[in-house]
């Protein structure tokens, strides 16, 4: 008999310790901030360059 998709696996899987959870959260926040800064930078560059944003020498 096959195991249905919605059945829980027998093994508990990976259980993160509080420290691992804290570090994962810190990494997630850092990624979010980095992406936010990157988006703002691209937005600022787009404003400066205007419609020809991809027009550049060479």
């Amino acid at each position: 008999m096959s195991l249905a998709m919605d059945e829980k696996p027998n093994e508990p899987g990976i259980v993160l310790t509080p420290e691992q959870l804290r570090r994962r959260r810190a990494r997630s926040i850092a990624i979010a901030l980095a992406l936010g800064v990157f988006a703002i930078l691209i937005w600022a560059v787009t404003l400066v360059k205007g419609p020809g944003v991809l027009v550049r020498p060479l």
Partner: protein, 325 residues
Amino acid sequence: MSLTSESADLAQPMRTGGVYAEPSMAGVGDYIALLKPRVMSLVVFTALVGLVVAPGHLHPVLGFFALFCIAVGAGAAGALNMWYDADIDAKMARTLDRPIPAGRVQPGEALAFGIVLAGFAIVFLGLMINLLAAGLLAFTIFFYAVIYTMWLKRSTPLNIVIGGAAGAFPPVIGWAAATGSIGIEPILLFLIIFFWTPPHFWALGLGRADEYARAGIPMLPVVAGSNETRRQILIYSLVLAPVGASPWLLGYAGWPFGVVSILGGAAMVALGLRLCASEGPAVERTAKQLFTFSILYLFVLFAALLVERVLGMQGVGAPFGRVLG
């Protein structure tokens, strides 16, 4: 086995060698450490000087974006270096606590981190600034990660002489970002860093020859010994002093830079001579002084160029006028 049971198997947590893969313990600081922030700060500073002293005008936002891409590219190169060098980093006290040998970051994570950042930095520098700057950044990352890290570092005592070119490119990239071309000035800035690198790193290596030997890195102090290394430091300092003053001698910088570069170059040569004459424990002490002073020397040289540009003093009081161009 039915399709449903296969799907259920795929949903199991990833296993490595029959045991669960350990969840990452990497903190944000570990990923920042992979970027080698101290090296990155020097890269950003020298690139800034190349960008500012270049003729013409680049909008400050675009200039900042170019520096951002150069910084990220430098960080990516640092991450790739740490990925490849994790085995020798684990053998040296100075690098033992880096994220990979310490076990906080997996090698594959560092490799992916480096490749993704390098790709982003190169693509966006090319899209938003110009292709020459992006090409130079790509070459610099390749040179540092592949030519220096994977090849030269473990195979020849000239590793940091040739590999030093990677650290010398940032002002050229900054100049290229501002102008879309390369002139004599950025080549002079390149040469300054190129000839500055060997005495700087050999002075560091003199006190750590045992560690480098244990890690199997053929640094000059390991292969040729202390006396020959000190002689080479002096020779490179003798070359560096006039090269350091060349922007002033050739008319690209004013008298303040001339004074700073001549005094600084003379001090580098004096320290090189003292290092050659040192014996016993004084060797390591003098090498540390030379190492520390070399950082100050390079910083002051580039800062002088920056200040002259801001004050509009470029080429004022040059002995021969502008010789080239």
